[in-house]
Amino acid sequence: MSFPDILRTAARSLTLPRLPALAILRRYGLLAAFLVLWQAASKTGWVNPAVFPPLDAIAAALWKGLSTGALLDDIAISLQRAGTAYAAAIAIGIPVGLLMGQIRLVEQALDPILQLFRQTSALALYPVFILLLGLGEASKIFVIFWATLFPILLATTGGVKEVDAKLVEMARSYGASRLTVFRRVILPAALPAIFIGLRLSATTALLLLIASEMIGANKGVGFQVMNAQYNFQIPLMFAAIFLLAGLGLLANALLVALQRRLCRWSDRTN
């Protein structure tokens, strides 16, 4: 057994639990206890079941919504809104961020106005977007785009600026062109930072999605939360809330999986 092997074995015995069941308990124990408490409290009338319906009623409402396809339509339109905005934020935020990180002039020119825009809450601007773009899809997508753009843009810029100049010089000493340096050093080095921005933006996208759907929509998961509450279909309201939480978890899990694939080399993800 070589020295690194010994280290690896030692590390494994430190971090991995002896029993998988124990690991599951440690990780999901509190969550399970919370759900059990909810169910019991609602069933026994300890909390008002009209406000906190039992979980089985929520599950039934969720199942009904999904099986009849009613909620599926809402999910589809919500995903379309958030997805379009998120994709546009990536398509603009990453290239502009890469430029800003590399070219001082671009950063100096854009930074003040971006700081101003960033500090202005997207929700505060939503009425302005509605005035400009109407109450339809465009203003909803734009407000989500606006809020998701900045985390991606700033994380990308920061990631590029923090690339180790010594690595760049090393590549240059082998005769690498600017493009090669960019492709083989700067881009991979900035990738973990870019992912931080992507994950932050995914959370923001869902937040703004719900807000925009609550204000002026007749479809979408966010609209369902409001609408169910208005019609006093409380199980359905909670079903929509859980659905949103699920979408958030799913988006994050997808991004983490992608990051693991692309950044296998880094400590954090391995």
Binding site: P4, K166, L167, E169, M170, A171, R172, S173, Y174, G175, A176, T180, R184, V185, P188, A189, L191, C263, R264, W265, S266, D267
Partner: protein, 252 residues
């Protein structure tokens, strides 16, 4: 008589200074030096005497203010494929495995990937890291990482190898092993080796000639260290060389 492509260097009237906030700092003052192809030169001098500056000019990472360098008669302009630099730190790309790091220099220069990996494999073996070819840099020790950096430089098969305190960060034991390994590789690869070091013993162990950079305006001095190889650090001749070099610094 050495061949035309042997990696011989000529430094003519090489000068370099920096503009500081309050004054002009002159670092290198008209250095003249001929380095025979295939030989080895150590550059020593006090901290701030311009060792790194000189090496970076030779690497083409910096331009001299006056004078110039020719390699086998051709003037140096910027970096060139006949040279490779080994920096003080390994400077490995953390997202590439050991093998891919070693192949990096070749790939950057346009060698097809399969061929680059093939040659990289040879040099990974040469520095004794075959068992670690697929490992990430963060999983290496300091000495192993530095060996990867050396292999990466060797893989492009330079005629001139430029090293800036390559073993400065290593412990004394590893450093001795690496010095021995470097001398062996230098003998096998027939490259011209120019190595900056703080360590006089290292300079005598590695080099045929030692360039002592003065601090200030004095002329640099060149000291021959043509002891037989392999060199024995405890031999009387070695000790005498060391004392002569110490005298250059006014320390003995």
């Amino acid at each position: 008589m050495t061949s035309l492509q042997s990696g011989g260097l000529s430094l003519r009237n090489l000068s370099k200074g920096y503009a500081l906030a309050d004054r002009q700092l002159s670092v290198l003052n008209g250095i003249n030096l001929d380095i025979e192809g295939g030989s080895s030169l150590a550059i020593v001098g006090a901290s701030g005497s311009g060792k790194t500056t000189l090496l970076r000019i030779l690497a083409g990472l910096e331009d001299p203010d006056r004078g110039g360098v020719t390699i086998d008669g051709t003037p140096v302009r910027g970096v060139g494929t006949e040279r490779a630099v080994i920096f003080q730190e390994p400077r490995l790309l953390p997202w590439l495995t050991v093998l891919d790091n070693v192949a990096f220099g070749l790939e950057v220069r346009g060698t097809p990937r399969a061929e680059a990996l093939e040659r990289a494999r040879h040099y990974v073996r040469l520095v004794g890291l075959s068992d670690f070819a697929g490992v990430w840099p963060r999983q290496l020790s300091g000495g192993m990482a530095q060996r990867v950096g050396i292999a990466r430089a060797l893989t492009v098969q330079p005629r001139i190898l430029l090293l800036d305190e390559p073993f400065g960060a290593l412990d004394a034991m590893t450093r001795l092993v690496m010095q021995e390994e470097l001398v062996r590789i230098w003998g096998e690869e027939k490259v011209t080796m120019i190595v900056v070091t703080h360590d006089l013993e290292e300079a005598i162990y590695l080099a045929d000639q030692v360039l002592v950079l003065p601090k200030g305006e004095d002329a640099p001095r060149l000291i021959e260290t043509d002891l037989p190889r392999p060199r024995d650090r405890t031999s009387p001749a070695f000790v005498r060389q060391r004392e002569a070099l110490l005298r250059e610094f006014g320390l003995h």
